[in-house]
Symmetry: C2
Subunit: 305 residues, 2 copies
């Protein structure tokens, strides 16, 4: 199957210990026009991330079914885990992969949100690119207070849900739905065992303390290897390209007499982010996807599919 | 159509002026298991390059048909053009794209060569990765003497063809068939109008005068822009990666007080070559195609196709 319009969704559900429950929830998302490609459980967080790709129409159906099954099988009144949460399905992000715009993902997120509110009686908050108010862009802001605190929070005019009544679902809580850019988890390792060096560099590069707009960063010690790393989330590689992040970390490290020994991509990285690195490194003028052999071939063969 | 085993072939035919003839030859290659995706004529060279992609079985049939049609429509006794040539179909290269090895391409080239010799009575030389003798690796060595000189050359024991009788086809000459790596045409522009700087750097970076093994390079003047460039063919990006070529050109330029202002990819570049640039620039440890979002998705969806 080749889908020309491809969106990824990575719903987070508040169950990370009972494999049968997670599998049943992931299974509920299956069907025409989408495919569940991964499901990973975290017992400490008591939370799972399910990865689904598909066309907008298929995903709409799949995500609503998934939310229905999670509502049936998870009761947040009995949920304990390290990760903060406010819903049985806690958050449903949509990420453009190919042949779709961010606006398409925003539109899909609103359809999914509306249907979840109507069919399951769960209050829905639109976040990130789909947010209707500035203080709803950041998921952490919405989630503050968690399931237990939401009974009061939802009564405040400021926290009236985007879809559904201002009444927390008794067992499934509330859910955030939204469109966002692909998030790249990227770590850079330093030839040093001094944690303060990694923390200083993290502070220099991250947005919250004056650094690059779409970078979150922490300094961490890798104790078994005796080195430190700058551990980052890049939340918009189109506006804050990976190479720029790498260059700044390297320069800041050099300023402290420390070398970069390597870097690590955790999870996956979109092709376009790597193309950007190549284009910038080589100073290629007039770079476009037409310059790439496989893109040309796929375009030429696409009509046969 | 998604082909899991994909090879590219770019046969060069000795006709670059008569559009009907070139189209008829390209058309002859069409059929099940391959697709003609481009055909570009050069009137000065009186030569055309046809781009065909497909699975090994489809390409075998397509290239033999193409050679038959070129033999029918082109008479080298009347061919004049700037580019040296020895055959109506002058050369048939095969390049691995995905799901195939170089050995698969060598094997395909031999099947195509054998069939052309048997069905069309054209002597065939295997070149590059398919070569059976050291002095047949380089296409220019085989082509020396061209169509006109081949009647004598072919009588030498050293130039006995790999397939077919030692007798030049009266109108279609001889043909070279072989497997090779993808060739990247890559130019680097310098902030200088001094042609000797570009020539010096070309000499430093190219194999023939002591440089990198898989680099051919020339210094050229871009008169309308008033700058010079190092114009290169990278004949094996796996062993001589683009970034290393770029870095050396940049260092050699700096040594002469000249800046690199940009670079240009002519034609296309394989994805893997860009991934290499990104991996090297970012010092990514444990890089593999599994780290790339779209590769993961395509793997996951592939089974539905």
């Amino acid at each position: 199957m080749v889908w020309n319009r491809l969106i990824e969704s990575v719903p987070n559900v508040s169950e990370g210990r009972n494999k049968d429950v997670v599998e049943a929830i992931a299974q509920a998302a299956a069907g025409r026009g989408r495919k569940v490609i991964d499901s990973s459980m975290d017992a400490d967080h008591n939370r799972s991330v399910i990865t689904i790709v598909g066309e907008p129409e298929g995903l709409l159906e799949g995500l609503v079914s998934l939310a229905a099954k999670a509502t049936e099988l998870i009761d947040l009144n009995f949920h304990r885990g390290e990760h903060p949460r406010m819903g049985a399905v806690d958050v449903i992000p949509f990420i453009p992969v190919r042949g779709v715009t961010m606006a398409d993902c925003v539109s899909l997120s609103k359809s999914v949100g509306r249907q979840i509110a109507e069919e399951l009686n769960i209050p829905v908050y639109l976040y990130e690119q789909s947010a209707t108010r500035q203080n709803r862009r950041n998921l952490a802001e919405i989630r503050k207070g968690e399931f237990e605190g939401f009974k009061e929070k939802i009564m405040q005019a400021e926290w009236e849900p985007d879809f559904g009544e201002a009444m927390v679902h008794p067992s499934a809580g509330v859910v955030a739905v939204g469109a966002r850019e692909y998030l790249i988890a990227y770590n850079i390792e330093l030839a040093s065992s001094d944690l303060s060096v990694a923390k200083d560099i993290a502070r220099a590069v991250r947005y919250s303390s004056g650094g690059l707009r779409y970078v979150k960063a922490l300094g961490l010690a890798l104790k078994d290897r005796g080195i430190v790393q700058v551990s980052m989330n890049l939340t918009n590689f189109k506006k804050t390209p990976i190479l720029r992040v790498y260059d700044i970390v390297k320069l800041e490290a050099a300023r402290r007499g420390v070398e970069v020994t390597g870097s690590e991509i955790v999870g996956t990285v979109p092709r376009a982010a790597l193309y950007d690195v190549a284009r910038m490194s080589l100073q290629v003028r007039g770079f476009s996807h037409d310059l790439i052999l496989e893109e040309r071939i796929e375009d030429a063969l696409g009509e046969n599919c």
